[in-house]
Amino acid sequence: MSGLRIFFIGGAIAYRGLFNWLSPWIFVPTFLVAPIFQILLFVYIGRSAHVRSDSFYVVGNALQYAAIPCVFAMSNTIAGERFQKTLGYILATPAGRLPLFLGRSLPVIVNGIFVSAFAFAVGGAIVGIHVPASAVGSLALVIAVCAASCTGLGLFSAALGLRVRETATLNNIVFGLLLVFCGTNVPLDELPGWMSFASQGMPLTHGIEAARRLAGGQSLGTVGGLIGAEALVGGAYGLLGFGLLRFMEWQSRRLATLETA
């Protein structure tokens, strides 16, 4: 029961307290307006370069933008403890680490889903793409899996944030890598082989592909493998991130290096 309370209530409080981007003055420009312009930027570059349909860029960029709320929020809600000088107190508590850290990911995932779905709906409406009504539910599932997967990466980034001083720089670089590698705007077969290979181990790659196929009219059953792969990659990053957090905690106790960055 205590674990559940820490997971749900503690996670929500930490999220609200440490992720200050929830202010409307940040939330609206960063999470609602910026993804629309990112979509428009690549739609128009695509039109100018005479490659692919508008739908390709709407799907890719709407899903990829989940990386902003998920990676940044996860990083802020864990590494932010260090900046608030509360990390020591958190790690001194007997609370289970799994609900303590993973509980913070739940609101992050919900926000990621909202941002991605909003960008998809509004960006798609502005550009005028058609998505079959039967695909809406399946697309919602893919968006949710992508948001969860990005949050797994965010947990890994958050763990690094306990050692890296400039988390904003780190997270922006993560966002940029996802933009280039994951087939967001350039199909994987147009990328050099090593980039295409590396993208298989990155969140969003499989989810974006699955969403494109669903938007193209394929059924959920035909993209089940892609969704499973996306969940697997996200889960692997989540596990890696949690393990790294525990390692950082153990090492900081051993070497007294909790606040070294």
């Binding site: 003055w25 910026a34 312009f37 100018s48 370069a49 400039e166 904003a168 940029g176 350039v186």
Partner: protein, 255 residues
């Protein structure tokens, strides 16, 4: 003479400070590079003849990218550092203190410009033959200064917002989109073009391209410089009103 000295020293000081910040220098160079890389891939696949166009456009994106978010939050940063009141109270006009800050930010963008052009050359084989090197350099300098002046206007316009960086960040994509960096203006609906004409980067971008391909860049340089000067003038006037209001109501600190 004192004003010129203040501008020059302020610019040099802030340029050195920004160069030491990973967010404002390293990221300012790398981040537009991600977008440039995607653009290179797309143009190479669909329209290889436009790669030089894309390379020049992507390089100027970095100048704006280095300025918009940082300039939006410039005054808030002084607030956090506790220096805003001291700077406002100093005998020099506050615009002479703030303008070098945003000019230094746009100057950092030259790193990004050089890095993007080199990236395009090395990785994508985009060779850059500049027809008029002197005109090209003049166009780059005027564009950097005009974007810095635009940043100054943003900085003072957002003085009342605690989260001004987010508003500055918001303007990054729209300017990249409608100033003709990577997309010709002719592709946009008619109502977008008058907006882009009011933006100095549009003319700076045109001047840089014209100088590179051998056209006449001076008219565009002149318009870019004129719009930049207008931004500064508006910024100084707005700043005067805002500082007067802040003094009258004791709201400078926004506490």
């Amino acid at each position: 003479m004192n004003s010129a000295r203040l501008l020059l020293l302020g610019w040099a000081l802030h340029f050195k400070m920004l160069s030491r910040s990973s967010f404002n220098s390293v990221l300012a160079v790398i981040y537009p590079g991600f977008f440039a890389t995607v653009a290179f891939f797309l143009y190479r696949e669909g329209n290889p003849h436009a790669l030089l166009y894309a390379s020049l456009g992507a390089s100027v994106m970095g100048i704006w990218g280095a300025t918009s978010t940082a300039a939006g939050g410039a005054l808030q940063r002084e607030r956090w550092h506790g220096t805003l009141e001291l700077l406002v109270a100093s005998p020099a006009h506050f615009s002479l203190v703030m303008l070098p800050v945003t000019l230094a930010m746009s100057t950092i963008g030259i790193y990004s410009m050089a890095a993007t052009l080199a990236w395009g050359r090395i990785v994508f084989g985009v060779s850059l033959h500049i027809a008029h090197p002197l005109s090209f350099c003049l166009a780059v300098v005027v564009t950097v200064v005009a974007i810095g002046m635009c940043g100054f206007l943003l900085a003072v316009a957002f003085v009342r917002y605690r989260t001004a960086w987010a508003l500055g960040n918001l303007l990054e994509y729209p300017v990249w989109l409608i100033c003709g960096f990577l997309v010709p203006l002719s592709l946009f609906p008619g109502w977008v073009r008058p907006i882009s004409w009011l933006l100095a980067p549009t003319w700076g971008m045109r001047a840089i391209r014209e100088a590179a391909i051998g056209g006449s860049s001076l008219p565009d340089v002149g318009v870019c410089a004129g719009i930049g000067a207008a931004y500064t003038l508006i910024g100084v006037l707005v700043l005067g009103r805002l500082l007067h209001a802040a003094r009258e109501r004791a709201t400078l600190a926004l506490t």
